[in-house]
């Protein structure tokens, strides 16, 4: 939404942007869009206010204010163009990286899933067991002066009532209204209707009515507001001491700062919580030499894979573009369509099809092209690397082909003619003129293609899942693993999901890719001087 620029000379253009009056239509549209954005922001802020999310509320408020300032002020033209892009960049890239960095410093993963309070309540809940041989009570939820309570009818017909603080007391049968085998009302107590129960579900589920003054007898608890059983807590949490005690074995578990309950002897309770562990995840490859060695191997292969993929697909695409550009070539259109076909299929699908084609015993390649040979395309380490590269180049060369075709056609004919007149042959023309000019326009694409292939999860994972597994390493590292597939396996596969370690490895990947891209972009500036 820019203001209309008057047709003054460039010298006064700057001044005229601020002094030219905008047309009413443009102004109205601008105000409408800004108003919509502001309305959404106000709505979001009101929701956040009720939830007490002060940090996000502050961020939304500041961002909206900035957006308004940028679009309402005269001038700030670059800001007006860049703001939407910057907002999306901040949300989808910057925030993601910062959050991953935060996770990398914690031990989030299996066994450390949530907060300490959640872990404590989970341990207590899971170890609350029904007392053997105890009867099933039919219950009705009631409210009394002592709070929420249970009106329980035992199988023998005895009616009792109690609350969290007061143990069950028998009631005089005359003061009780029965419905079949269940007491539904009692004097001095208000029965809760289904509606009320539904609104207080958390409270009802947490209600524990002691059977008697002796806590060892257990307590009554209901899970469906109709039946209750007698339970006992095997694990007891002592808040003052911060310890969890197993009452059956009298083992005391304490929080020793590792995000879990453990004894001095090393026994650990499985359910723990997230804590910040500092740089532990980043130091893992160094402290674990075999994993560190495997990681280096994987990193080397990732670089090799990315460079070879880009290089081979670029040269293949370039070769095809050159040959199909030559007017002497016949049926060019057919070849062009065929060359673009691999690009038309989703890479996910193609990788799975190739998986079938390369099957050692039943695959088309082995059966037909090699006459029933049993070549282990995907199970031999080096052949697997070759296969992954082959499939990736097959998927990538059409893109390079299109790009090179476009770039070649943008090179002015006069240069080639001039060179030929000067006595240069085809190869010299190509090397001296076409190729450097081509690189000027395609270099940024090559760099971004490198970054893409560095993290090319789809092809590798679909084809080999990381490939024949490396021997001698505890972790699941394979010969065709890229850094990104290794991270995926660490985070989501394997017995213990370790998001903290996976986040740390992703940050390392990010740093590598960012550094390589930054350096490469700087180098390509030298190419710009050619133009």
């Amino acid at each position: 939404m820019t203001t209309t620029v008057s047709k003054d000379s460039t010298a006064t253009r700057k001044r005229s942007i601020s002094t030219a009056p905008p047309s009413m239509k443009v102004l109205a549209v601008k105000i409408l869009f800004l108003a919509i954005v502001d309305a959404v922001a106000v709505f979001a802020m009101s929701m956040l206010f009720f939830r007490g999310d002060w940090l996000v509320l502050g961020i939304v408020a500041v961002t909206t204010l900035l957006v308004n300032i940028v679009y309402l002020s005269p001038g700030l033209l670059p800001g007006k163009y860049l703001t939407p892009g910057l907002i999306f960049l901040a949300v989808f890239q910057v925030f993601v990286v910062v959050y991953s960095l935060y996770i990398a410093f914690t031990n989030y993963g299996d066994g450390h899933n949530s907060t300490k309070e959640d872990a404590i309540s989970a341990i207590v809940l899971q170890n609350t067991q029904r007392v053997e041989g105890s009867p099933t009570y039919r219950v009705q939820l009631v409210e009394g002066p002592g709070g929420l309570g249970l009106l329980a009818t035992s199988p023998e017909g005895e009616v009792l009532v109690g609350t969290q603080q007061e143990p069950l007391q028998p009631l005089d049968p005359g003061a009780v209204t029965l419905d079949g085998d269940r007491a539904v009302a009692a004097e001095g107590w208000t029965s809760l209707q289904q509606q009320d129960v539904l609104q207080r579900q958390q409270e009802v589920a947490a209600l524990q009515v002691p059977l008697s003054d002796d806590l060892a007898d257990g307590f009554l608890r209901t899970m469906d507001a109709r039946n209750a059983f007698v339970f006992q807590s095997v694990f007891v949490y002592d808040e003052a001491a911060g310890t969890m005690t197993d009452t059956t074995t009298d083992t005391v578990y304490a929080d020793l700062g590792n995000g879990q309950f453990e004894t001095e002897g090393g026994e650990v309770l499985g359910t723990g919580w997230q804590i910040v562990v500092g740089p532990e995840n980043f130091l893992y490859p160094f402290e674990n030499p075999r994993f560190g060695g495997a990681l280096l191997g994987v990193a080397a292969w990732t670089f090799a894979f990315a460079i070879l993929s880009v290089g081979l697909s670029f040269f293949l695409g370039l070769f095809l573009a050159l040959t199909l550009n030559d007017p002497r070539m016949r049926s060019r259109k057919v070849y062009r369509v065929l060359s673009i076909l691999p690009y038309a299929f989703p890479s996910f699908l193609s990788a799975l099809v190739w998986l079938g084609l390369l099957n050692t015993e039943f695959g088309f390649v082995n059966e037909v092209l090699f006459g029933s040979a049993n070549i282990p395309w995907l199970t031999d380490p080096w052949l697997a690397k070759f296969s992954v590269l082959l499939v990736n180049v097959w998927l990538g060369f059409p893109y390079m082909f299109l790009v090179c075709m476009g770039a070649l056609q943008s090179i002015p004919e006069e240069l080639t003619e001039a060179a030929t007149v000067d006595g240069a042959n085809g190869w010299q023309v190509f090397r001296g003129i076409k190729f450097p000019l081509l690189l000027v326009s395609t270099a940024p694409l090559l760099i971004s293609s490198f970054a893409f292939n560095f993290n090319n999860f789809n092809t590798t994972y679909m084809l080999t899942r990381g490939g024949p597994r490396m021997e001698g390493v505890t972790e699941n590292v394979g010969h065709t693993d890229l850094l990104i597939t290794l991270v995926y396996k660490t985070a989501f596969e394997g017995g213990n999901r370790d998001y903290g370690l996976a986040a740390a490895l992703s940050i390392l990947i990010f740093i590598v890719v960012a550094a390589v891209s930054a350096i490469s972009f700087r180098q390509t500036r030298a190419l710009e001087d050619l133009h």
């Binding site: 919509i36 954005v37 309402l72 989970a122 099933t136 579900q201 015993e361």
Partner: protein, 420 residues
């Protein structure tokens, strides 16, 4: 100039506030913990995560539940294999489901992560098949209502193998004979992955050598401290596995899909698979019969039994409604039968199970599974499957040297990762 910019700001502000007010109909409800009027009219709410098959099977049951209790049920369809992971990551945020469907071997891990809550079956526990209730129990607490039971067995092509083989040698020799006669291409089809093998499908053969995974306590549960994977019987199995793959009986290049396809086209007299493939065989017109897997090592070849059931999230916003749904509706005959009819897996409720015995295949699989043991549901299993599979894969691919060494190295490695 100043006046026009002031007007602009005023214009934007006024329009923004009026637009925000228009959307005021959606004024947010405060967080559920301080709810006063958060519940909608009528009954409560329930959020269930299911896969498409079970969601279709239970549409009637859910509708009945909604009618009879006035609850609004929201069924979210998810891919079955990712339900456990999604629950683990989403539940602590408070936006997770109340009820999920899941496999029993997830229970240990989910309990360790504190995302599922025990469900007390009460007196209705006796109405279910014992193996189903055992499978859903972890460390003394039951974590859900079981709905289906499945296991693998030997499926044979009655045109190529009219009689059920009594021993493993008989199976191999009759399979070989069929191949030699030219009526079949493979003596036996077992679908495995070239890298990770498939310990689940090979387990009955392993069990027949007397090789369980963990020791079993008196109450039938697994003892995670007693790893039996490295015992003598298992090592003998490893040797046998190496031999079978050398003879071509176990082929690492045959994946699950290829095995199913080849059996359906009549390329082999025998395959080891579960009830999930039967419809493919029926469509292909194969005459099949289901029988028990013959013992290869002397002990009975008991398969792993898998149980699926419905569980309650520990972070459920509607725990009472969830428990009611589970104990009164999912545990009822209608729901159990509905799921059985669409999935062809035996129901867990005994009365429905017995009614399902009229189906020949279900009865046959059930007979094989009656002697089976549930897969261990302890959290340590995840670590195990992978190493176990890779070791089997290596033996099958004839790599790594002596199978016994490969196997014992794997068992030692698992033991050390369980310890430390």
């Amino acid at each position: 100039m100043k006046q026009s910019s002031l007007m602009k700001v005023a214009g934007v502000g006024a329009l923004a506030l009026s637009l925000a007010a228009c959307s005021g109909g959606g004024t947010p409800a405060p967080a559920p913990s301080q709810s006063e009027s958060a519940a909608p009219q009528g009954g409560g709410e329930l959020v269930i995560w299911m896969d498409q098959n079970r969601a279709d099977a239970l549409t009637d049951v859910v509708a009945t539940f909604e009618e009879e209790t006035g609850t609004t049920v929201e069924v979210v369809v998810q891919d079955f294999d990712s339900i456990d992971e999604n629950l683990t990551t989403q539940a602590p945020s408070g936006e997770g489901p109340d009820v999920i469907v899941g496999a029993h071997d997830w229970i240990g891990k989910l309990a360790q992560n504190g995302v599922i809550a025990p469900v007390e079956l009460g007196d209705t526990a006796g109405d279910f098949q014992e193996i189903a209730v055992n499978a859903m129990t972890f460390e003394g607490s039951t974590y859900g209502v079981p709905v289906s039971i499945e296991n693998i067995a030997l499926v044979r092509n009655t045109d190529l193998a009219p009689e059920a083989p009594a021993t493993w040698d008989e199976l191999v020799s009759s399979g070989q004979a069929a191949v030699d006669a030219g009526s079949a291409e493979f003596p036996l089809l077992v679908g495995i992955d070239p890298n990770n093998a498939d310990p689940y499908h090979l387990y009955p053969l392993q069990a027949s050598f007397g090789g369980p995974v963990f020791g079993i306590n008196e109450d039938g549960s697994y003892d995670a401290d007693d790893l039996q994977l490295g015992n003598e019987g298992n090592v003998a199995f490893a040797q046998a596995l190496g031999q079978w793959s050398a003879e071509g009986i176990i082929n690492p290049n045959i994946s699950q899909d290829i095995a199913k396809e080849q059996f359906a086209s009549g390329a082999s007299p025998y395959t080891i698979t579960g009830p999930w493939n039967l419809s493919a065989f029926q469509e292909a017109g194969v005459n099949y019969a289901v029988s028990e897997i013959p013992s290869a090592g002397g002990e009975p070849a008991t398969p792993f039994v898998g149980v699926q059931g419905f569980m309650v999230s520990a972070y459920a916003n509607n725990p009472i409604v969830a428990s009611q749904f589970l104990t009164e509706y999912i545990a009822g005959e209608e729901a159990q039968t509905a799921i059985y009819e669409t999935g062809q897996r035996a129901p867990a409720l005994t009365s429905a199970f017995e009614a399902a015995q009229s189906n020949e295949d279900v009865a046959a699989f059930g007979e094989v599974g009656a002697a089976g043991v549930p897969m261990p549901n302890i959290p340590e299993m995840g670590l195990l499957w992978e190493d176990w599979g890779v070791a089997e894969g290596q033996i099958i691919a004839q790599q790594g040297g002596d199978p016994a060494t490969v196997w014992t190295t794997m068992a030692d490695k698992i033991q050390s990762s369980l310890d430390g």
